[in-house]
Amino acid sequence: MFSGGKDSLFALWTAMHQGYDVSCLITLIPKSLESWLFHYPAVRFAVLQAEAMGIPILIRRTGDSATRGLRDLRSMLKKAVERFDVDVVVSGVLASDYQRTLVDLVCEELKLRTFTPLWGKRGELLLAEVMSLGFSVMIVGVAAEGLTKKWLGRVLNDEAIEELNSLASRYRFNPAGEGGEYETLVLDAPIFKKRLVVEKARPVWMGDSGYLEIEEAYLATK
């Protein structure tokens, strides 16, 4: 299950390094920001990321409600089983019981095993690991007290992470963004053959949350 953010890419990287043979990516695009299940801001660029890694991708638009989301997830997983003979579903879920339970439920029904390599990992640690592996991560959505407009479009580096950790402890949120505090788009990773370049983007601010509206992006050679 792939959103293009740091968690799903790190989970994917971990799975590949543990010998899993990744046959396809599954991406659901919610209608709006209101979705409880799937990430919104930059999911549209998952196609480019899949191309950068050379992995097939299954994409589907879905609604915002949990019922609609689950129904579409179920049909997507069925399709993946039929087409790629999938037997394990990898997801980047970290701490959200809600997301994990729902995914588990669907997978059990389809007799699929799940692999959640990031489950229970501490937020600060996850950020440090992702950085040390050479991921290039851009913040494309923020939604928490303490995170302001200036974070939109910021590419994480040591300084940004230090700032993020101190804000997280001051305003008491998960520094890895697991409660929906911020959303990311991975521009580059060790498993990318090409890198993603954001050419044109504008921040959209809505009082105490906002997202980066990416208008143009392309793949460039590394």
């Binding site: 920001l33 409880w36 959200s96 019981d97 007290e145 995170l147 305003y171 105490d208």
Partner: protein, 695 residues
């Protein structure tokens, strides 16, 4: 006067008293010839061959320092009210006496500066007597007005009962009737002594300290007697409990219960917490509970005050005024006890609120940490000073009760060697509303939670209860409900008070059956407080608003409903409500109390009216006219100069805080823009739509 008392106990040489101003030991106080801080001292005195310990707190007289008077009153059982013979009973006398009586502190009267009646006003013995009779009458009128019925008669003073003394602190003589009779002194002798320049003789025959200390020993109660009737008034716990009984009896064998009335920060010793020990024995090394701070601490040293000096005594029994070292979290008003869960003393009520602010920055940015330290120390020592960092501009803001109060704070900062730059003083405003609005829905930033909140103006009586500290967050739910029920609140709402903001707002849960609500309750309250701290119009405090939680939908997963989601959501819904509820600004109105020669009254009236003020009363008294009026604080910054120059310095006046009043609507839009620009915000305030979320 205090200096004469010190002399009696051998702390100062007799000839130095009067000039030494030993209790006014801050340099700044001696320069301004007034007492700023409340100074403590314990005196040992023998009266009719019996030894007595008298704990004396010298409190400030200037109106900008009434906070300190209020705090001191909690610690003492009796008060020596000093009245200037020439000026008579003044507003300030009235304020202090009223506060004393409200705390069941018994007063005696000392009429000072009799020498001025003789030397300056050239009054005859007959004239002096008439002035004294009038002052005693005026003073007793205060007791008649403010004392509770059972003390009204018993606490009145009279010369014949020996609870009035007269004299001159400057020349250090004084007497009560009994002393005068014993020593054979009459008014005519006093007048004669001054005419003949023989004051020295007077001082030897009737030294001031004897008159005062005799009066104290004879008329002011000892702790075991006073606590029997004061505890039920100043402490609201169960009087039949172990703690209650011990305090009523002033029992050394009871648990330690102490109310902190004053905290200072000493460069060597750190935080020094001084207060009244109502029961038990406090020892160095004791571990005690700080009830308000919900913390414990270890008493490193127990001291007793001798003017500026602390003497280490190791241990003190009930009824004393110990100074404790080592309790870093102690603040004025804190209750300290050897056992947990003691009902704290009611929050001490301050008569004035800080209404004037200045911005401070260090001249050299490297001094910033030092400035933070100094401000921290100042605000620990004086809870009427409030320091705050403006989130937008990053400025350090210091608020005080009036200009004099802030000027002295600034001098104290500069005394530390710190060079600072300050802004001109500005007035503090409040935001409020004129009608109910809502419910409005807001979503959390991550869109996974919703809240529905309405707002309405809060009953002014409840606002008064909150701002005076009688209704506060430290009270348990049952007593809050009981109090609100007695003001006609429906049981459902009175029982479900979520939060109380000290600036006069309340947060009530009216929702039913909301899942997970209990787990996010604290975050909701934080959201409420954060909205009340930064009103949507100008980021000033909000006053007089009732916020109702009508409904909420919360995400089942705790990861999605953390504080960073709930706090901004609640604030957003409250902002939408406040901005839709006919929002207004409130400004502080000051009371001008002036004494001036009759021909100056017209000038004062003109000054007041041209500054949006008005005259409330004009009263002719003996030599001067007393004028009372009201004037918005915003119009007072040049008042000192204007009054001085237009009355040739003949008017004496004070300017205490009176009330909050709506800013005239014609001035409001401009004022809002000005405040916002000063704070580095966009000039136009937000619209309600900016905080409304669609379904």
């Amino acid at each position: 006067m205090s200096d004469s008392l010190l002399a009696a106990c051998g702390l100062l040489s007799p000839s130095m008293a009067g000039q030494a101003l030993a209790l006014d030991y801050m340099e700044e106080e001696q320069k301004r010839q007034m007492t700023i801080k409340a100074a403590n001292i314990s005196l040992y005195y023998e009266y009719e061959n019996k030894p007595y310990v008298i704990n004396l707190i010298d409190t400030p007289g200037h109106i900008d320092f009434t906070g300190k008077v209020t705090r001191s009153l909690r610690a003492i059982d009796g008060a020596i009210v000093v009245v200037d013979a020439v000026e008579g009973v003044m507003t300030q006398t009235e304020t202090v006496t009223r506060q004393a009586l409200e705390e069941r502190v018994r007063p005696v009267l000392y009429i000072n500066k009799i020498d001025r009646l003789i030397n300056e006003l050239k009054l005859s013995p007959q004239g002096v007597q008439e002035v004294i009779v009038r002052i005693i009458k005026d003073f007793n009128r205060l007791i008649e007005m403010y004392a509770e019925p059972e003390y009204r008669k018993a606490w009145k003073v009279s010369f014949s009962n020996n609870n009035v003394a007269l004299g001159s602190a400057k020349h250090r003589w004084g007497f009560t009737l009994r002393v005068a009779q014993e020593k054979g002194i009459k008014f005519s002798d006093v007048v004669a002594a001054y005419k003949e320049g023989n004051v020295e003789e007077l001082r030897k025959t009737v030294p001031l300290h004897e008159a005062i200390l005799d009066m104290v020993v004879e008329h002011l109660p000892s702790p075991p007697i006073a606590q029997k009737y004061r505890i039920p008034k100043i402490w609201h716990g169960d009087l039949s409990s172990e703690v209650g009984k011990a305090m009523l009896e002033c029992d050394d064998d009871g648990p330690v219960v102490m109310c902190i009335s004053n905290v200072t920060v000493d460069p060597q010793a750190g935080v020094v917490a001084t207060g009244r020990l109502f029961s038990g024995v406090i020892n160095a090394g004791d571990t005690v509970h700080l009830i308000g701070a919900r913390a414990t601490g270890r008493v490193q040293q127990v001291c007793i005050y001798m003017g500026p000096y602390r003497e280490i005594v190791g241990s003190l029994p009930a009824g004393n005024i110990p100074a404790l070292l080592g309790l870093d979290k102690a603040r004025a008003g804190e209750t300290i006890a050897s056992i947990p869960d003691v009902v704290p003393f009611e929050a001490v009520r301050y008569v004035t609120e800080p209404v004037v602010t200045i911005a401070i920055e260090p001249k050299y940015s490297r001094d910033l940490p030092k400035l933070v330290d100094v401000l921290n120390k100042l605000t620990i020592e004086d809870p009427n000073l409030v320091a705050r960092i403006d989130q937008e501009s990053g400025e350090y803001l210091l608020s005080g009760i009036g200009q004099v109060h802030l000027e002295i704070a600034l001098t104290l900062i500069q005394k530390t060697g710190l060079e600072i730059i300050t802004s001109p003083p500005t007035v503090i405003y409040r935001e409020s509303i004129r009608k109910p609005a809502g419910p409005f829905m807001a979503k959390s930033p991550n869109r996974h939670n919703r809240v529905y909140i309405s707002v309405e103006p809060l009953d002014p009586q409840i606002v008064e209860l909150i701002t005076s500290g009688k209704l506060n967050d430290t009270m348990d739910r049952r007593s809050i409900a009981k109090l609100l029920r007695s003001y006609g609140w429906p049981a459902e709402e009175a029982r479900n008070v979520y939060g109380i903001d000290p600036h006069g707002c309340i947060f009530v849960d009216r929702s039913k059956g909301v899942q997970y609500l209990n787990e996010v309750r604290d975050y909701m309250v934080s959201g409420f407080i954060s909205a009340m701290d930064d009103g949507p119009l100008t980021r000033e405090y909000v006053r007089g608003v009732k916020v109702n939680l009508e409904n909420a939908e919360l995400h089942s997963d705790p990861a999605h409903r953390g504080p960073a989601q709930i706090i901004p959501m609640v604030r957003r819904a409250i902002y939408a409500g406040l901005l839709s509820a006919d929002p207004i600004l409130l400004e502080p109105i000051m009371k001008l109390v002036a004494r001036a020669p009759a021909e100056m009254v017209g000038v004062l009236t003109k000054i007041l009216t041209s500054r949006r003020g008005r005259v409330l009363s004009i009263e002719q008294r003996e030599y001067v006219v007393h004028v009372e009026g009201e004037i918005p604080a915003a119009e007072t910054f040049d008042l000192a100069d204007v009054i001085r120059s237009s009355t040739s310095g003949k008017a004496f006046w004070s300017l205490p805080f009176s009330r909050w009043a709506p800013v005239p609507s014609s001035l409001m839009p401009k004022l809002i823009r000005e405040i916002r620009q000063r704070k580095g915000l966009s000039p136009e305030p937000p619209r309600p739509e900016d905080f409304m979320d669609r379904e």
